[in-house]
């Protein structure tokens, strides 16, 4: 795969996958002079080694028993289509073995005190960039994944927050539903009612029928109270056996004409000023 040194003047049109090596213009580097034992400690120190404003990604690495801290901007804005960038590395690591590299007629990469810088001034014994790129074997230290990782961390935080909110809300909904169900159950228990809607409907229908029947009895009684009787005429008996009415009235006329307006006359008799009837 093609290797390229990416400088600020880079204007090549890339249409194939490439391994990008950033020139020193794109990152800040420092040699860690404090005596530290492990790379882990160097990584901890990386951020505090710089005093930079802006969004940077900080890291540390070890080259020939020396520790270096690096700060790379999170937004590099490379003029290469992202799909062609297979990896991003830095010149400090990849060209560490070279003392001087001639990038073009105007610029040189030079190592001074173990740090590689970008210089406009020429110097002796510089090898051409093309030759240096051919000679180097790319290191394992890439930065592209780590820069992408910050995005992934943000996505992860959003993911955790969103999912936590959804799960907490779902849990609270389930809890609320359980509370509601318990409340209903207690309400029904308090009123000595069964727990299912089927049983409740059955009770309700039964009650409705009974109330309707009672309403009919009250209307029947009202009808009896309006019987057209003269002053000396009166009810001798009025009874109800839960199905039929029995009436005995002291009267001078047959009252069939009146009762048949409201009841079904099962039997009736009128004799000696007495009217008797069985009504339904």
């Amino acid at each position: 795969m093609k290797k390229i040194l990416y400088t600020k003047d880079f204007n090549e049109k890339i249409k194939e996958p490439v391994n990008v090596i950033l020139s020193p213009e794109f990152y800040w580097i420092k040699k860690i002079n404090i005596p530290i034992k492990s790379l882990k400690d160097a990584k901890k120190l990386a951020k505090s080694s710089f005093n930079l404003k802006g969004d940077f990604f900080y890291d540390a690495f070890k080259l020939k028993d020396k520790f270096f801290a690096v700060a790379i901007p999170k937004k590099l804005n490379l003029k290469i289509d992202k799909k062609y960038i297979k990896s991003i590395r830095i010149a400090q690591i990849e060209f560490f073995d070279f003392e001087c590299i001639k990038v073009n007629e105007n610029y040189y990469l030079k190592k001074i005190d173990d740090l590689i810088f970008f210089f406009p001034t020429p110097s002796k014994n510089c090898i051409p960039l093309k030759e240096a790129l051919e000679k180097i074997k790319l290191s394992n230290k890439t930065f592209s994944q780590k820069i992408n990782k910050t995005l992934l961390v943000y996505a992860g935080i959003i993911f955790i927050l969103l999912n936590s909110a959804l799960l907490i809300k779902a849990y609270s909904n389930n809890l609320e539903a359980k509370k509601l169900s318990l409340k209903t159950e207690n309400f029904l228990k308090k009123h000595n009612l069964p727990p299912t809607s089927f049983q409740l409907n059955s009770i309700l229908n039964d009650l409705k029928t009974k109330v309707k029947k009672q309403e009919k009895i009250k209307k029947d009684l009202e009808f009896f109270s309006k019987t057209p009787l003269k002053k000396e005429e009166y009810y001798q008996r009025l009874s109800f056996d839960s199905k039929n009415y029995y009436v005995k009235i002291h009267t001078s006329k047959n009252l069939d004409f009146y009762f048949k307006k409201h009841f079904k006359i099962l039997s009736s008799n009128f004799s000696k000023n007495t009217y008797k009837a069985k009504l339904k």
Partner: protein, 112 residues
Amino acid sequence: MKNILIITLFILITVFSYKYYLSSKENLKESFEYSKKMIKLANEINSLKNTYKPYIPRFCKKTYTKNTITAICQNMDKIKFFQFQNTLKKSYLLTFDIKKENLINAKAEIKK
């Protein structure tokens, strides 16, 4: 590639969480509707149960059985009979028998 897999996993878990949230919301809605319906039915039953209440005048003799009260009201004049009529109007009537000779005698079986 690894990142794409992680993001796909994030999305899948979020979809699952959202579906779980929607189902819990639906469950809550159903519980609410069910509770509302049950309480409405219970209130309707209670209201119907209280439509008729036993009313028996003091001068009547009362006999209680498991579900019924038998009221025997004897020798009623017009005023007492007027009170007895309230029994007929307000109580849940099972049977009754009213006889008039000189005064009025009545017997009524009403539901407790």
